[in-house]
Structure formats: structure tokens, C-alpha cells
Symmetry: C2
Subunit: 224 residues, 2 copies
Amino acid sequence: MSRKIDVGKRILSANERYALKNSQLLGEQKKLCLNMISSPGSGKTTILARTIRDVKDKIKIGVIEGDIQTDLDAERIKATEAPVVQIETGGSCHLSAAQVSGALEKLPVGDLDLIFIENVGNLVCPSAFELGESGKIVVLSATEGDDKPVKYPAIFAKSKVLLINKIDLLEAGAQVDFDVERVRADARKLNKGIEIFPISAQTGEGMNRWYDWLAESTKNLQGD
Amino acid sequence: MSRKIDVGKRILSANERYALKNSQLLGEQKKLCLNMISSPGSGKTTILARTIRDVKDKIKIGVIEGDIQTDLDAERIKATEAPVVQIETGGSCHLSAAQVSGALEKLPVGDLDLIFIENVGNLVCPSAFELGESGKIVVLSATEGDDKPVKYPAIFAKSKVLLINKIDLLEAGAQVDFDVERVRADARKLNKGIEIFPISAQTGEGMNRWYDWLAESTKNLQGD
């Protein structure tokens, strides 16, 4: 008796298996799921809280909050009345697909149009771990410097959308040295199709184009 | 014939072995070595370039520049005429002690008083890898938010100095919501002895206290 072994089939890592499971669940239910990645302090939570409030009549949003420690961000999302599940990674520098799988079980996925995953604040490690999301959103704030796409290319190459946040600080007469056009050009070199929205989650400037993109992407998926 | 095995002796990891080697080399030569850690874009390179220029008559500084990709930061340091060695980690989210050991061989260590290691921009991973340094310096910029010591405690607990950078933006009439006293209190809860210097590497505000600390620390070590 002989056994055939399919050598062409690559063995999936545990993370890839969970990512596939998440992606299948989200695909079957036609839910858009966006994995938001940035350095600490670029404004992810502020963007999410404002987005949830501003689009609540059109798009039902739930949030998975990843943090190394504390539930401060989850509390800020709770204040918007959106459903939120907190994951504390306890030191780990990125969310895993298994953690997201557990969180998806706790969210009322059927009632939602869109699920945001707010990853741990880190521009490097989260870009290497697929969570089964529909796409990645990278946030860069204007005070972080315009050299970041060149210095941290992986996440810019992989994202569907780049949000350039805190653009109100470019106009406040403050000494912020940041060339939006340089960022745009460098990000496009890495990723021809990336959508780029300069915004201020603080003042609301530029947010409408981002909301339009979310509405369109949600509709496209549900209309499949 | 029997062999004795010392079971009390913990086996060192490769990183710990190199860290010990670096620490011995630096200790024998009485050189201060500071490992600078922060998120991308908090201003590490700007702080270093200004510090090197401002103290060059008193303290001879060399720099080890860690980046995932590009030598943009090393070029900025070269412009100050300080000796600099670039390490490109090629995707890795932190410097290793072995990389630093190689870089120390290329620096004219004997001619220097102080060696700065500018780690990869990442508030999480570099805090877990000892490089053999004399101490860690954490940089937090005012635009990153005042909740960072609570959310990313490890690096604040381990650092000798916290530089709160970009404080000029707090006074520019911009909408930067950052409470220096909250950061001070939260950092001290994690680390009673941490030195805290609010600075602006852009305008020079507050930099003199930081320079005094560097001069004092260098002198103390050399006077041993």
C-alpha cells in the first residue's frame, strides 16, 4: 500500500489558517473588514471615533481594538456607542489572526456593514501578519515626517488607503516640515493603486472623501 | 571520567552574549553608549543632529544608525561631521546586539566620549533587546498623545531619560491635545528615577538641560 503526498501543497502557518478562516467568515457575510496600521499616536482612534459618529446613519461600524496594554482606546470607541471588542496583546507588537477570530465571535457581525481592526501602534510588525481582513489602511500623521514611505515601505506597499492625518498642523503656522506631495509620490512608487486622503480627524478637513470611499467599498462588496 | 555541569548557570541567548561583549568593550574604554528608542517620526535624528552640533566642543559623539531600509538618517548625521555607521536591518523591527557589535568595530571608539545608537523607529520591539548600552533614552513627541506611557509601559519603565520632543507645537496655537504633567506623572509611576526633559529639537528650547545631563553622565563615567 502506498500513500500519496501532495508536495505542491504548502503547509499553512497557524496565523495563515486563522486568517483564512476570518476571511471566509467575512466573505460569506459580505462584510468589509479594514485593518488599520500606524505608529503610536498618529490618530487612529480619533479617526475611528469621528468616522463612526459622522457616518452612523449610513454605515454600521464595529471595532476590534488591539492594544499592548490598557483599554483606553476601547473606552473612546464605546463612547460612540459602536460595538467594540478589546484585545490586550500583553506585550506582543501586533495582533494575530487567532485573536481577531476570537474577537469576531464576540461582535454582532451580522448587524454590521464594516468592521475596523485597530492594530497595535507599530509601523513595522503588524504589516507582516495577515488577519483575514479585506484591506489595510495605513495612517501617517504630518508630524511624523515625509520620509516614512521610503523608510518603512512594507506597509505602504500593502495598503489600500493612506490617510495623511493632522494636516491642520501644516497650516497652523507651526514649524512642521512635511511635504504632502513627496509622500504621495513615494507611496505611489511603492503602490500604484493606493488611495491617498489628506485629513484632519481633529477639524474634520478632508474626511468626506474618506467617508465616500468607505460607503462605496461597503456598497460594492454587498452588491456582489 | 566525569564532567561537571553547572546547572545554576543560565545559558545566554546569542543576543545576550553579544550584548555582554559590547557592554564589556564599552566599560573597559569608559565610553557612554545610549540606545535611543521611539516611534517613527518622533524626531530622534533631528535631536541627534542638533545635539552633536551644539556640544561638539565638549563631547565627542559617534552614532550607530539603525533603519529598516535607506541611509537617509545616516546622511543627516554625516552632515554634522560626526562618525556614523549605518545598519540596515532589512525588515527587522529592532537592532540586535550582534549588529551593534559589528558597528562598534567600524567606529573610532577610542576617539569618542559618547556613542548614540539610534534604534529602528518602533516603540515596542526594541525595548526587549539589550544591546550592551549604558542606558536607554525614550523619545515621545507631543503630537503622539499623552497616553503613551500607560499604553506602551515597557520602554518607559526601562529608560534613563525621557525626552518629550516637539513642545514648540504645544505653544503654536495648534490643536495639539497633550498634557506634559500627565506624561511626567505616568512615566514616574513606572520608573521613579527617570529624567524627563521637555524639548524642541527644532527651536532648541529645553535642550540645555539635556546637554548638561549628557556632559555630567559622560564625566561621571570617565572619572570612575
